[in-house]
């Protein structure tokens, strides 16, 4: 960042996630996030469904009839079963659509390069909700405002790591300087490939992707959509200048059309 503070983020290595949901609990405790429903979803061990106003960390569970890799991992059975688990979170995009479209300035970028909604400014217009290509933000219905992960802005300011990373017992959630995390992640993918886990791939680590790279990126063991993640997200405002151009042309056409309707009229 411009003042010399390095950009901070998460590297979530789903290959070592054990689905304990300590991250979900720690996040709720620290950030005082309300209950998000005590539901049996029928979606394996997932009971929070997806990210939203009251779910800032979401652990996905995917059951598949596939071997994890050539080496026998913990969860492999004789009949080729693997259980994918992944803790999802706000991506803190380099080019954040939520921040771009927010009409009140409630959403801002912090000195750590993270994206935060200011609760005392947000008026609940809801524009950021469908602007996010990952489905992170949502409206808290009984409150009216929009809420999402702050990457524990309050903890970062006093030199602490975010609650979810602190609580993660397997270091599946790693917090740190983004450059260092990217370096570490590249090494991890390489060692997994060497170990025969050919499906391992990084997601959101590339600054050349449609959102300029994620501040929170992942190591996945299958296609992103299997985990409920978009395969090729783009920041919608990438196309905004073209939208304005067509709006301008359409407005001009409307003025011309009305003028034509009056031109040469007899009555």
């Amino acid at each position: 960042m411009s003042d010399g503070t390095p950009r901070m983020g998460f590297f979530t290595d789903t290959s070592v996630c054990i689905g304990c949901k300590a991250c979900e609990v720690a996040c709720k405790e620290w950030n005082d996030v309300p209950e998000d429903g005590l539901d049996w979803t029928g979606m394996s061990h997932d009971n929070s469904g997806g990210l939203g106003a009251d779910t800032w960390r979401h652990v996905a569970f995917v059951e598949q009839r596939k071997p994890l890799g050539e080496h026998a991992p913990n969860f492999q059975r004789e009949d080729d079963f693997r259980w994918l688990m992944a803790s999802d979170v706000c991506k803190h995009c380099t080019h954040a659509a939520c921040l771009d479209v927010c009409p009140t300035g409630a959403i801002f970028r912090t000195e750590f390069g993270t994206v935060v909604v200011q609760e005392d400014i947000c008026n609940g217009c809801g524009y950021c909700v469908p602007a996010c290509p990952y489905g992170v933000l949502d409206k808290r219905e009984d409150d009216g405002r929009i809420f999402k992960c702050t990457l524990c802005y309050d903890r970062l300011e006093v030199g602490q790591e975010p609650a979810c990373a602190k609580a993660c017992p397997t270091d599946s959630i790693q917090f740190g300087e983004l450059d260092e995390l990217r370096h570490r992640a590249a090494g991890r993918v390489e060692s997994l490939h060497e170990a025969g886990v050919v499906d391992a791939r990084l997601y959101g680590e590339d600054p050349g992707d449609g959102v300029g790279g994620d501040g929170a990126f992942f190591l996945l063991l299958d296609e992103p959509e299997v985990y409920g993640l978009p395969p090729d997200p783009i920041v919608t405002t990438r196309d905004l200048s073209r939208m304005w151009k067509h709006v301008g042309l359409a407005a001009g056409a409307l003025v011309t059309g009305v003028a034509a309707a009056f031109a040469g009229a007899r009555r």
Binding site: Y127, R145, V226, P230
Partner: protein, 303 residues
């Protein structure tokens, strides 16, 4: 077991939290207001007071309803004025609020001057300014909904402004045909035909570009609304070109069909966007195809 194409069929993006009555209603009334201001200014300048007056009333009524709907839809309506903290070109909603903040008082001024028969030069100037801003009010809403990750809205961003411009023109023309005498409603009848043709052509082009995502606009509630909208718009335009010139009843029928067609277009496109957001296929499949295309290009042209 979940299938491999999605996570238990759950949406990838979070669908909009906007209430249909408020926001689809706003898309319609905003378009009606803006184009009515244009119609009013044209009628005023060309000496058709019996068309200008009802168009001014329509514009004012529609923009008041619009603003009410926008504020009502906020999670915190009392914080509406937070919209005026910033001027933000990257947010179509911010730009729209600033345009409305200028447009609404001008529209009210134009009507008040006419109704009270006071300050005619100020009234006319306000009316012309409102008309020019009205063209923006009618069309910016296309950028408002296209500037999201909602597949049917975002991927239609090139054509949507023309759909909205045409729909706004046919709605305002419809209101004009309903309210003005036949002796002065000729321009409204011509605008109805122009607007309807533009709307139908732009929508056709948009559906072709959308590819598989157009499925969200063809099925279910959205599909029924948009089919009815097209039939009503086409019928209304045909009526405007024929029976509307002959008598008040024909004009009123054509006008009502055009208004209903425009409203159904907005409510249909709103619902179509919601449907495209709810079904993960509409997010995943175009993105997978885009990624495959990029990979193929990279293989053909390495480095």
């Amino acid at each position: 077991m979940s299938d491999t194409g999605s996570y238990y069929g759950k949406p990838i993006i979070n669908p909009p939290v906007w209430a249909e009555r408020d926001i689809a209603g706003y898309l319609f009334t905003g378009g009606l207001a803006g184009a009515s201001s244009l119609l009013a200014a044209g009628a005023d300048v060309t000496g058709r007071p019996a068309l200008a007056r009802p168009a001014r009333v329509t514009a004012t009524g529609a923009i008041v309803v619009s603003l009410g709907a926008l504020i009502h839809d906020l999670g915190r309506p009392g914080r509406f004025l937070n919209m005026l903290r910033v001027f933000k070109p990257t947010s179509p909603m911010s730009m729209g609020v600033w345009v409305l903040a200028a447009y609404a008082p001008l529209t009210v001024t134009a009507l008040a001057s006419d109704a009270l028969d006071r300050a005619p030069r100020t009234g006319r100037a306000a009316g012309v300014a409102a008309a020019l801003l009205g063209a923006g009010v009618s069309t910016y809403t296309a950028a408002l909904i296209a500037d999201t990750a909602v597949p049917a809205w975002h991927d239609g961003h090139r054509e949507l402004p023309y759909v909205f411009a045409g729909s706004a023109a046919s709605a305002a023309a419809g209101a004009g045909l309903l309210a003005a005498p036949v002796t002065q409603s000729g321009p409204a009848a011509r605008l109805a035909v122009l607007g309807a043709v533009a709307e139908l052509a732009a929508e056709h082009a948009m559906e072709r570009r959308l590819g598989m995502v157009a499925g969200a606009l063809r099925g279910g509630t959205a599909g029924r609304r948009l089919k009815a909208a097209k039939a009503l718009t086409a019928t209304g335009a045909l009526g405007a070109a024929t029976i509307a010139r002959r008598g008040r009843a024909g004009a009123a029928l054509s006008g009502a069909a055009l208004l209903a067609g425009s409203a159904l277009t907005r409510f249909g496109l709103f619902e179509g966007g919601m449907a495209s957001a709810r079904d993960p296929r509409y997010t995943v499949e175009p993105q997978r195809a885009r990624r495959a295309d990029a990979a193929a290009r990279a293989r053909r042209d390495p480095g």
